[in-house]
Symmetry: D2
Subunit: 340 residues, 4 copies
C-alpha cells in the first residue's frame, strides 16, 4: 500500500502516517519527491489492508492511497499459475475443451424439459441448465417450480447423460439445490449476496458465478474469493453482460473481459449470450466470438417452443437454431484447438 500525501504535508503529518502503519505491525518506507512525499507500507496482511487503506484515505492531508497487492489471493493467477479445470459431474470445464451448458430459462414441465434436454444433448451440449428458482424483477412474474423443478431437472439430466446446473437464489436454497444438482449457479443479482456465496462454497459443488451486471472485475474476483475462502475452488466464472448507457441492447456483452480475467485468475470463464442480449437474433454471433476470444464455454438458453415459454421468450433459441449455432461454434473451436 502506498500513501500519497498532499502537497505541503508537514513532517508531523508524515509521521502520523508512519506511526499508523507501524502501529498496525508493518514497515513504513518514506520517499520524498520534489512536490510530494509518499509512504509505502511493507508486509501488510490481507485482513488489515482494506481497513488501513480506508483509514489513511480519510485523513485530510492524504491525497490518495494506492493498493499494491490485489485484494484477493486464492483465486488469483499468482496463487496458481496453471489454469484450473473444474469438473461438473464428469464434464471438464477448462483449457483444451469448450463446454456448452444449455437448456430452458425455466423448468416448466416434464415434457418441455425432456424434449429440450434431448435436443441440446443431440446438438453437442454437455451440461443441462434450467431454472427452478427464478429471480424476477417484478412480483407479478412466474417464479419457478421450486423443488418440483429440481426433480425434473435431475431426471432429465440422468436420462440424457448430462450433469445439471441450476440456480440457488437464497442461502437457504443451497442445501435443497445441492441434493439434485451437479453445480450451483449464483446469479448476477446475487454476486454480492455474501451469505449465499458462503453457503454455495460450503456445498463443495462447483459454483457457476455470474458477474454482477455492474460489478467490476475486482469485485467479481472478491466474490469468487468468498467461495474459495471456505475451501471450494471449483468456481466457473460467467460473463453475462454489463449495464451501460446503450439502449439498443439489454446489456453490453463484455467479451473482452475474457482475456483480462485470464491474466488475473486461474479459474475457467464462460459466456452467457442469452441474458446479455435479451434477443435471440444476436446469440449466434456472440457464441462464435466467445470461442474466438478464448472463453472455456457457453451458457445458452434453448426452449422447445420459445414463443410459448413462460419466461424470457425473446432470448431463447429453438432447438433448430441451437443446432446451427453449435455447428458454427465447433468450427471456430477447432481453429482454437478446443474440443466441444
Amino acid at each position: 500500500m502506498i500513501v500519497i500525501l498532499r502537497r505541503g504535508a508537514t513532517e508531523e503529518q508524515v509521521n502520523r502516517v508512519v506511526t499508523g502503519i507501524e502501529e498496525a505491525g508493518f514497515g513504513a518506507h518514506i520517499s520524498r519527491g520534489e512536490e510530494r512525499t509518499i509512504v509505502g507500507a511493507i508486509g501488510t496482511s490481507p485482513e488489515m489492508r482494506p481497513h488501513l487503506m480506508e483509514k489513511f484515505t480519510g485523513m485530510p492531508f492524504v491525497d490518495r492511497v494506492v493498493p499494491v497487492l490485489k485484494p484477493y489471493k486464492l483465486v488469483s493467477a499468482e496463487a496458481r499459475p496453471e489454469p484450473t479445470v473444474v469438473e461438473v459431474g464428469d464434464v471438464p470445464v477448462g483449457p483444451g475443451t469448450f463446454t456448452v451448458i444449455a437448456g430452458p430459462c425455466a423448468v416448466e414441465s416434464e415434457e418441455q424439459l425432456i424434449e429440450d434436454a434431448r435436443a441440446v444433448r443431440q446438438a453437442g451440449a454437455r451440461l443441462l441448465r434450467g431454472g427452478a428458482f427464478k429471480p424476477r424483477t417484478s412480483p407479478y412474474d412466474f417464479q419457478g417450480l421450486g423443488e418440483e423443478g429440481l426433480k425434473l431437472l435431475a431426471a432429465a439430466g440422468a436420462e440424457t447423460g448430462m450433469p445439471v446446473v441450476t440456480e440457488a437464489r437464497s442461502p437457504d436454497h443451497v442445501e435443497l439445490v445441492a441434493r439434485y444438482a451437479d453445480a450451483i449457479q449464483v446469479g448476477a443479482r446475487n454476486m454480492q449476496n455474501f451469505d449465499l456465496l458462503t453457503e454455495a462454497g460450503r456445498s463443495r459443488l462447483p459454483v457457476v458465478l455470474k458477474r454482477g451486471f455492474s460489478s467490476t472485475v475486482e469485485e467479481w474476483m472478491k466474490a469468487a474469493e468468498y467461495v474459495a475462502s471456505v475451501g471450494n475452488l471449483n468456481i466457473i466464472l460467467c460473463e453475462r453482460g454489463v449495464r451501460t448507457y446503450e439502449p439498443a441492447v439489454r446489456f453490453t456483452q463484455d467479451l473482452a473481459i475474457v482475456p483480462v480475467v485470464r491474466e488475473l485468475s486461474h479459474l475457467p470463464i464462460i459466456v452467457d449470450p442469452s441474458h446479455a442480449s435479451g434477443n435471440r437474433a444476436l446469440v449466434p454471433a456472440v457464441c462464435r466470438a466467445a470461442v474466438a476470444i478464448g472463453a472455456d464455454g457457453l451458457l445458452v438458453e434453448v426452449h422447445p417452443d420459445p414463443d410459448g415459454a413462460l419466461c424470457d421468450p425473446a432470448q431463447q433459441l429453438s432447438p433448430g437454431q441451437f443446432a446451427d449455432v453449435m455447428e458454427q461454434v465447433c468450427k471456430v473451436a477447432s481453429v482454437m484447438g478446443r474440443a466441444v
Copy 2:
C-alpha cells in the same frame, strides 16, 4: 402495450400479433401508418403484461414493443395521489418534516454506540442507525456483531429516545432484526434480493429500501412493489449513489432523481451521502443539496472516532462535523418549509 411491426410486415404477421393479444384475453387495436403498422393491446393485466411483451419482442417481424402502463401499481403516484408519511416508531418521514437518521457504519461496542447516539440525538437526529450484519465485498473484512449488535442498538435507541433502523442482509435475518429494530434496511446490493424484500415486507415494519447502485428507477419501484405486494406500504426509498465511469468519487450521487421519484411514487425518499461519496469532505455539501432538492430526510454515518472505526472510516463524520452539518441543514430546511 403497443407492438410496432417492422416495415413490410405482411397481413398474416399482423394477424399473428392480433391473435396473440386476443388469445391472452385482451383487445387489439390496429393503426396503419404510411410506413408501419402498429397494434395496441387494450385491457392487459399486470400479471400478463411482461410475459406478453417478451413474447412479441421475440417475433422477427416485430420492431419493438412499447409498454404504456408502468410495471408497478401499489407504490405509484397514480395509485395514491397524496404523499405517504411513514412512521418509524413515533417519528414521521414525509412531507413537512425533514428526518435525519444517523449513527455509526457498524455497531462496534456499547461505549462507541451510546456515545455516538447521544451526540447525534443532541445535534438533531431523530432516528438511530448502525450495522449489525455488514455486507462486505471481501471475505477478509469485519462482518458485524450480529445479534449482540442488535441488542446494543435497541438499548441505545431506548436510552436516547430514538427508534432504530438497521440492515437485514438475508431473508433469515429478518425475524431477528424485527425483534430489536423499528425499521429494516435493505441494502443497495440486496435491492433485487426478492426473497429478502418479501420477508422484510411481511415483518410489517417500515422498510428503508436503498436503490441498487446500478438500478434504474423502474427497477427500484418494482423492488418496492415486492414489499408492497405482501401488504406493507411503509417503505422509505433511499438514494445512495449510482455507479458511473467517474473515478473521482466512489459513486455518483443522483440527487436529481428525487424530483423524478416524486412524480412517479407517493413514497417518501431520503438521501445517503456517506456511501455515495465514500469521503466525509463531500458530505456537508450533499446534505444541504438533498434538503434543497426536496428529499424527506438523510441517512448519515457518524462515528465518535472516525479514524479508529472498524469499517468505512473515510466516510464517517465526527460528532462535531455532524453538528455543523445539522446547523446548515436546518437553515436550508427552513427555506423549504420543513421542520428538522
Copy 3:
C-alpha cells in the same frame, strides 16, 4: 410517433395533442385504452419529427412520446437492404472480404513509417493508417507532424501499394487531408463534430467514422446520416470501445454491437482493438473475436519499436506480434467465408 397521455388526461388535453399534430400537417389517430389515451401521428416527415416529439414531451399532461420510425434514413438497412461495399482506393471493405487497416498511432519519421508499412503489408494488411493530426487530451502531449506527416504517409502508401487512411481533426483540415489520403477518419471525440462530418462528407472520399466513446448506436447512425446527407454514402463505421464503470480496461470493447448495427444499417463496420484496450496484450484475442462476430475488418496500431513510440506505446503491436495476429485472423476468417 405515438403520444401517450397521462392517466386522467381530459378531452381538451387530448384535443390539444390532436390539433398540434394536424397543424403540423399530419394525421392523428386516437386509441383509448382502459387507463390511458394514446394519439398516433401519421405521415410525419423526418424534418418535423424531432421537433414535434420535443414539443409534446414538454406538455405536462403527456406521459411519454414514443418514436415509431428511426431518426435516420439514408444509412438505414430499410433504405438499402443490400450491404454496401466501400472502396478505399482499390481495396473493398464489405461482405466477402476482411480488410485490415494497420500502421503506427502517429507518423513520426520517414524511416519509422516505411519500415512499419512494409511490415504490415507483408503480414497481410491492405490499408495503411497513421496519424498526422493527433487529438491529445493534454496540451503537453505530442500533437503530430501535420502536413509533413501526410506527405510521408502518401509516399509510404504508394511504395507499398496500400491506400492510406488518416484522421482530420477539424473541418479546416479536410481539404489538406483529402489531398494526400484515400479515406478520412473522423475520431471518436469528433463523432458529433457536425461541421467536420459535413466537410468530410463533401470531400467525396470514404469516411471512417469512429463511434463516440459514449455514443449510442442511434447517435452514431445520425452522425453517419450527416455524412450521407451531403451525398456521400462511402462510410465505414468503426467500433472502438465505450466508456463504462470498469477500470480494468481503458474502454469496454462493444463487439456485440456489430450484429446490432448489421440489423440497422447497410454500411460496413470494422473494429479497432488498440484504442479500446489501451493494452497490446488484449489485442490478439479481440481481433479473433471481431472476425468471428462478423465485422468487415480491423483497424490495428503497429509500430516498429512500440517502446520507443511517441504516442500510445502500450497499445501498439510490434511487427512480429502483428504477423502472429494476422495468422490467427486468417484462420477464423476462413471459417467465416471471408478472404483477408
Copy 4:
C-alpha cells in the same frame, strides 16, 4: 510516478525501469516489499510524464503505473489556492455572488429574444445566453441563425444591460463570436475539440467550458488546461449532466461534482439544469440544489413561448416559471451567503 512491477520481476527487469527513468533525465527510487518491487520516478516534468507512463505500462513485467502528480497545473488548486473570480463584461462569477445566465436555447428572432431578455433580466439574471450556432445530433434539425443571431444577441444584451454568452461550435467560429459576445461557450460535445479550446483561449474572452457528457473530472481539467495554456485563465466550468444507464432522465445531473471540483481547481463552476434533465419540471429543484451544494451560478434556458420554441421546447422554462425559480434560488442563496 510510481511503477509497480509484477510479482517475480527479475533484477534485470527492475533495472530496465530504472534505466528508462534515468535516461529520461529523472531520479529513480526503488522500494522492495515482501511481494513486489516498486520504482518511483522523481522530478519528472509534465511534458514527459504521460509518455513515460504509457511506456512503462506497456512493459509485460509491469503491473501498473500510478501517477503521483495531477496531469494539469495552471487550473489546479495547488497552483492558485484562492478561488478565481471571472468577470464577464462587468459581471463577476465566483465566491460571494451567485450568477444566473439565462435566455433561450436558440436565438430565433428579434422579438423572441428581446422579450426573453427583458423577462430574465427582470427576474434577476445577470448574463444573457442564446445559441446562434446550434450543434444538432440530426442533420434534419434547426441549426441556428449564425451571424444574424449573434447580432440580435449583442443588441438585446446592450438594451437590457446584460453581457452575452454564446457558443462557438468550431475553431473558425471563434473570431466571429468574439466580435459580438462577452464570453464564449464551448459545448459538451466539443469539450475535447482541442483546436476549438485553443482558439477560444486565444480570444482572451472568458470561456464557459461545459463538461463532456461522459468526461471524467480529470479530462475536464485537462481541457481547461488547454485554454489556460495559451494564457487565458478566465474559465468558467459548467456541469451539465453525465450519461448513465438511467433512462428516466436525459442525463444524470452530477451535482456532487461541485465540491469535488472545488478541491481540485480554483476556477468557478456553474450548473446547467436544462440540458441535463431535458425536462422543465425538474429544473426548479435542481436550481435550488445547485445553490445549496455551493455552485457559483446557473445556466438556464428560458423561452417566451416554450411550446413554440424551435429547439428543445421540453426543457425551456416560461418567463413566469423562471421568475418562480429565481425567488427560490434567492432564498437558498441568502442562506449560503451569496448575492444573486
